[in-house]
């Protein structure tokens, strides 16, 4: 099932499937540079209170993304 990266909770792992069309090209480019490219596995490390940006791990780097960006990243859950 296709979900958005933003819908992940702390501890969830997923594989990136792609981006939806609403994501501006320049944002897509930046995400790809950071390692959020299709096929890459991403873990949601922390989900903070009050809708604050969530924390994700890609490879050996930790990033924080807010919902404006993360809702446009399409993923599927892995490891259940």
């Amino acid at each position: 099932m296709t979900l958005s990266l933003w819908s992940l909770g702390a501890g969830d792992r997923c594989e990136i499937l792609g981006y939806d069309d609403a994501l501006a090209d320049k944002y897509r480019v930046r995400l790809m540079e950071f390692g959020f490219h299709p096929g890459e596995s991403v873990a949601c490390v922390q989900s903070l209170a009050f809708g604050a940006p969530k924390i994700y791990r890609v490879s050996n780097t930790i990033f924080s993304l807010d919902d404006e960006v993360a809702t446009h990243v399409l993923v599927r859950l892995i490891d259940g």
Partner: protein, 613 residues
């Protein structure tokens, strides 16, 4: 003979600027916060005569997505066509290889196209070794067909090998790079970076685990919230309390120098100039230097430790409602003390549009220069009684109200501008790299604070001196300082009296408002001069009585409070804003825009108070 130029390039937060300092002995700004190097720095290389090292702004790739990145990338492309450039040093973070390698492969490809040598510098190797992580340096070097030198910019380990490598390559300029990537598109480079990082980079997640433990503390809703408020309280204290003794010392020193020098000047006009314009005017801005030093030091500490990125994350959501970013919080908080260090602090905001909005909010934060004006007007017009059994004092409530009003105006302006204006400034997504926590080095922090203070004195000093000179001449002539009311400034006050009449103010307040554009607190001293009171800024009580007796109404007092809360009356702020934003038109627009806003709000308050009473 033309000097050789070596290019230093790397992704943000790879330790590039610290390495630049190691290789040149210069003092480039260094911080553990992505995107901190804004300018292109150049310095002569230690041990390599006739060679300059050029430090480029950190960028995540050679595909620019903002105007600033475009400038950096264009500059890099032009440098590759320069015959004086034979060598490019590409810095990568050895602990997070994949992030750096995509950019590195792009750099190698472009250098191959232009026949330039590349050396990859794997920084932070000390952290790799300390945590017993494996990093196959030779394997990566073979795979890239490019020398890879492991080093630690922080400890200096391996830095000498860089100089040796450069010395060798400069003796034999053509280093015959292999053209193995020349025609490779970005998409393939991205995949290659992924594979190379997995094959040769450090395995295991020791660093991530220790980072996660600290993040669990600093970003939890309970402990993270407490830690945030404690750290921000200490930051605030540092600006107000810790800098105060040094500010007092500067003030005392300047006063003592004025007392010693002025009597030695035989000519009265020269003596007045030295006393009022030189020591009075220039001294009023030099007194901020300790505050800038302390604030820069503390902010550097937060950046270098890795906490700054976490603070930005915590504040992001509420500030986003007003078109700002979490990274706007520290500059805005700093603005409560002084707008000048706050404008410097806004450099850490990578999105040009959000940085612009933060610049717009900072002058509306209730800075410490407004405090004497607020104190005077509140003492003159707000009763000193209390309510709720002594728990709430009216004057204290008024002070809180006017502070809150300034912050509210700042957020109102950014909220409105962000929703209504489309400009040329690029916005960037909130994708924030959370750097590992580190123990900051004292020396770079002190050096950076010193450089920032020096920048303030040298860059703002010329503009402030010019404006001080103009205001002094207008206030001194034609009657040689005998009566401010009869000076050109006094006449100007009378000419513009109709402008201030809708606020219920006469020419005396007009003159005081004029002089306060030099610095807000000058308002108190000018009124003191006009009313003939010595040292009114140190003892306000007689001035308060004179203001009350001058026939000024409470409506005018409230209107003045509102005017001072909004108007951008600080030449130092304007000077630094112009330098940092590289936009004179922005400064002109803000100056007149805030003046009109302040004037309209003050007229509205006066008319409302007039109608109610």
């Amino acid at each position: 003979m033309a000097r050789n130029r070596v290019i230093l390039i790397g992704s943000p937060n790879s330790g590039k600027s610290m390495l630049f300092n190691r290789l040149t002995g210069l003092q480039q700004k260094v911080a553990n916060f992505p995107g901190i190097t804004v300018d292109v720095g150049t310095g002569a290389m230690r041990g390599l005569p006739d060679t300059d090292l050029v430090d480029f702004p950190g960028t995540y790739s050679l595909q620019a997505i903002s105007a600033e990145e475009e400038v950096a990338v264009d500059y890099f492309e032009r440098a590759l066509e320069d015959d004086q450039v034979q060598h490019v040093l590409c810095v990568i973070d050895a602990t997070r290889l994949e992030k750096s390698l995509y950019f590195t492969l792009q750099v190698i490809r472009d250098c191959e196209r232009h026949g330039k040598c590349v050396t990859v510098l794997a920084n932070m190797i000390d952290i790799v070794e300390k945590n017993d992580l494996e990093f196959d340096v030779q394997g990566l070097s073979d795979a890239l067909h490019t020398p890879v030198l492991p080093l630690s910019a922080r400890s200096g380990k391996g830095v000498e090998a860089v100089s040796r490598r450069l010395a060798d390559s400069l003796l034999e300029p053509y280093c015959a790079p292999r053209a193995h990537l020349v025609d490779t598109p970005d998409e393939l480079l991205r995949g290659a970076a992924h594979q190379l990082a997995h094959r040769y980079g450090p395995k295991g997640d020791v660093l991530i685990k220790s980072q996660a433990r600290l993040d669990n503390f600093f970003l939890s809703s309970v402990t993270g919230g407490i830690a945030f408020f404690v750290i921000m309280y200490l930051l605030f204290q540092s600006i107000f309390t810790w800098a105060a003794p040094a500010m007092d010392a500067v003030e005392f020193l300047l006063g003592a120098m004025a007392d010693a020098v002025v009597p030695l000047v035989p000519n009265q006009m020269a003596s007045d100039f030295i006393s009022d314009a030189l020591f009075g005017g220039i001294g009023a801005f030099l007194v901020f230097v300790p505050q800038i030093f302390v604030l820069t030091f503390i902010i550097g500490l937060l950046e270098d430790s890795g906490y700054m990125a976490r603070a930005a994350l915590i504040c992001h959501k509420p500030l986003r409602l007003f078109g700002l970013t979490g990274k706007s919080f520290i500059p805005m908080l700093s603005g409560v003390a002084c707008a000048i260090p706050a404008i410097y602090a806004a450099r850490a905001i990578d999105s040009p549009r959000k940085r612009l909005l933060t610049y717009m909010a900072i002058p509306l934060m209730p800075c410490s220069a407004r405090l004497p004006v607020y104190t005077l007007l509140i003492a003159a017009f707000i009763p000193s009684g209390t309510a709720l059994g002594g728990l709430v004092g009216w004057q204290g409530l008024a002070m809180f109200g006017i502070y809150f009003f300034g912050m509210f105006c700042g957020l109102l302006v950014t909220g409105l501008v962000s929703r209504t204006s489309k400009d040329q400034y690029t916005d960037l997504p909130f994708v924030l790299e959370l750097p590992p926590y580190r123990i900051p080095g004292l020396e770079p922090l002190l050096r950076n604070a010193w450089n920032r203070a020096k920048h303030f004195v040298t860059k703002a000093g010329k503009i402030i001196f010019t404006v001080t000179l103009v205001v002094w001449v207008l206030g001194y002539f034609p009657n040689y300082g005998a009566d401010l009311g009869q000076s050109w400034l006094g006449h100007m006050g009378r000419v513009v009296e109709p402008l201030f009449a809708p606020l219920g103010l006469d020419w005396r307040y007009g003159v005081a408002i004029f002089t306060s554009f030099l610095a807000r607190e000058v308002f108190v001293g000018t009124l003191g001069t006009i009313f003939g009171i010595e040292a009114a800024d140190e003892n306000m009580a007689p001035l308060v009585e004179h203001i009350q007796a001058s026939g000024m109404t409470i409506g005018s007092g409230l209107a003045l409070l509102v005017f001072f809360a909004i108007a951008l009356q600080c030449v130092s702020t304007l000077a630094i804003l112009s330098k940092e934003s590289a936009s004179k038109s922005l400064v002109v627009k803000m100056f007149f825009g805030y003046f009109l806003f302040a004037y309209a709000a003050a007229v509205a308050i006066y008319q409302l108070a007039h109608w109610l009473t």
